[in-house]
Amino acid sequence: MKKIALLVALGIIALSSSADARIKVRGRGAAMNFDSASIPPQFQATFANMSQKCIKCHTMERTVIAVQTGRAPITGQPFNKQAVKAYGIKMLRKPNSNMNKQEIRDFVMFLNFLLDENAK
């Protein structure tokens, strides 16, 4: 009985530590997005801003899948830190993206954080 309890306890610890290391995702399809509850406070403002601006042209689902899979879901291109910066620059230069350099810098840092978390 003690062994079982110990195993269960270990299992719970293992699962909870794994969950803590990663960012949760909520919703389906076009409504899919990172779970704001699992975003650290220092990124909350950036996340909120990103959730507003990115959806001007595409869903957040695209961003979530890119982070999860390491591949841009539409093009199949790699989605790593180098690509994140390139996407950031692309969005900065995109007419009417309505994103300034400071915002892009924040988005890139946030996405890099997400990639790191996902790799854990």
Partner: protein, 513 residues
């Protein structure tokens, strides 16, 4: 029997109906007076076949269809092969997308490394399961809710291919698309001032065969032309000019060199932009579209039977040159093009290096592309002793982009030493000078406004044989795209010719599917 109240009601309805007709008429005329879109067949490069093949949206390559953005230009230069920044994939250039997991070491089920000098890309694709399954992810999925994980799998691009299709290099989907245009024109100089007649439908095919060969074709299925000869109001809409507008094959990186070989009928690469790469659908750029006299139909944007070599050098320099064959003429004609891009994404779509930690600079957003070209040729009556017309064109273009603004400049100089070659012993030298400037503002991602001024000046050494020609043209365009494959455009052209002034409004709709 009708009652009095029924008659009153009838009159009331009749009045309202009359008012409605009046309002509709005013609205229709107003719109017609303003608008403008596709009328004559133009070479096209924007087709949903590319969207279907690469599973990307139209705006990946277009601002508002069919105008290209810089990524669309790169796709065009890359012979209809989707640009890749995947180094693993680039290592096996001819492998399909699904081959990416196998870009790692190729190992058999038994764990033995596969050796040999066969087609490594094909083998990689085979081993990756490209022939029988879907792409698998290389990275671990994030901790998601179960339903989200399920979504992810649904969203992954599937690249299932039958072995035969993969090995044959045949596109999985039939790479066919259609584009069509419907125009309502308003022109006070015509008998039929409000004209519903201009419309066309074209069939396109485009894609690549295992990234070794690119191809593109445009077949004009229907294009309504201006009426010729005597006609009356009973004349039905003409259906002529059905023709193969363009059909080219591009052999990419010939013998592993950086050079691409294009053969077939195409617009020789001269100016920076192809015919339809602009917001306006009805008015082509004058420096690209003018002709000299009645004997020569040559113009810069004319599709021709061509053999062309082109190459991207050091990511930002594009070089092209080729020869053109004319029917019934043994001597060939030649052309060359050179363009360079400063700032912005390069011709391989690599983003510029911008330090995000530095303050904003104008250079972060500035892109300048400059190009120059030349064409040398000879035309006249085949198999006759009539003197021929030897002519050349040289030109230069530039495009400046800054945030939501785009500025295009075009200049062209032409010399025809005998613009009336059928007239023996009477050489008619014509000098042509053409220029255009166009400014464009992206008001919204799907709403763009443009204004253009262009001029043409043609002067000869003999007014008796060639009357000097002066054209000034002002064109304003508003393009709106409610969906990415549907475009509405309103255009107004004010054109000053030597003997007349044209005022033409067009409202047009263009669709691609």
């Amino acid at each position: 029997m009708l009652q009095a109240k029924d008659i009153d009601l009838f009159n009331l309805i009749q009045e309202e109906y009359r008012d409605m007709i009046k309002i509709n008429y005013i609205v229709a005329v107003s719109l017609l007076g303003l608008v403008c879109i596709l009328s004559l067949p133009e070479t096209s490069h924007a087709i949903p076949a590319f969207s279907r093949a690469h599973k990307v949206e139209c705006t990946t390559c277009h601002t508002i269809y069919p105008e290209l953005n810089e990524y669309g230009e790169a796709f065009l230069k890359n012979s209809y092969v989707y640009f890749s920044h995947d180094k693993k994939k680039d290592a096996s250039a001819s492998a399909p997308k699904a081959a990416k997991p196998a870009a790692k070491k190729v190992v058999t089920d038994a764990g033995t490394e596969v050796k040999g000098d066969g087609d490594s890309a094909k083998l990689a694709a085979l081993k990756a399961g490209a022939l029988s399954g879907s792409t698998s992810s290389e990275s671990q999925p994030a901790a998601t809710e179960p339903e989200a994980v399920e979504q992810n799998h649904d969203a992954k691009p599937t690249t299932e291919k039958a072995e035969g299709i993969l090995l044959s290099g045949i596109p999985e989907q039939l790479p066919i698309s259609f584009t069509g245009s419907i125009n309502y024109g308003y022109d006070t100089s015509q008998v039929n001032e409000v004209d519903f007649a201009a419309r066309s439908i074209k069939m396109h095919a485009g894609g690549n065969f295992r990234e070794k060969f690119g191809f593109f074709a445009t077949y004009v299925a229907y294009s309504e032309q201006p009426p010729t000869g005597t006609y009356n109001t009973s004349t039905t809409a003409s259906n002529n000019k059905t023709d193969l507008n363009e059909f080219l094959l591009s052999w990419r990186h010939v013998l592993d060199s950086p050079v691409n070989l294009r053969i077939g009928r195409m617009q020789p690469k001269m100016g920076l932009w192809k015919t339809n790469n602009k917001l306006s659908a009805t008015n082509n750029y004058l420096p690209y579209s003018y002709t000299v006299g009645k004997s020569s139909l040559f113009k810069i944007e004319q599709p021709q039977d061509t053999l062309e070599l082109n190459s991207i050098v050091a990511n930002r320099l594009y070089v092209a040159g080729g020869i053109v064959n004319r029917k019934g003429q043994n001597t060939k004609e030649g052309y060359g093009h050179l363009s360079y891009k400063f700032g912005g994404a390069d011709f391989l779509t690599n983003e510029p290096e911008i330090d995000l930690n530095k303050e904003e600079s104008i250079l972060d957003y500035l892109t300048l592309t400059v190009g120059a070209y030349g064409y040398y040729g000879k035309n006249g009556t085949s198999n006759s002793n009539d003197p021929k017309n030897t002519y050349y064109r040289v030109g230069s273009d530039a495009e400046l982009m800054y945030k939501i603004y785009r500025l295009r400049l075009l200049g062209n100089y032409g010399n025809d030493d005998n613009a009336t070659p059928t007239t023996l012993n009477s050489w008619t030298n014509v000098i042509s000078k053409a220029g255009a400037v166009e400014g464009e503002v992206t008001l919204l991602t799907n709403l763009i406004a443009a204004g253009r001024f262009e001029y043409l000046q043609q002067e000869s050494n003999s007014q008796a044989r060639f009357a000097n020609n002066y054209v000034r043209r002002y064109v304003s365009t508003l393009g709106y795209s409610p969906l990415q494959n549907v475009k509405f455009a309103v255009e107004y052209k004010y054109e000053i010719l030597p003997s007349t002034i044209n005022k033409v409004g067009v409202l047009g709709a263009t669709i691609a599917f």
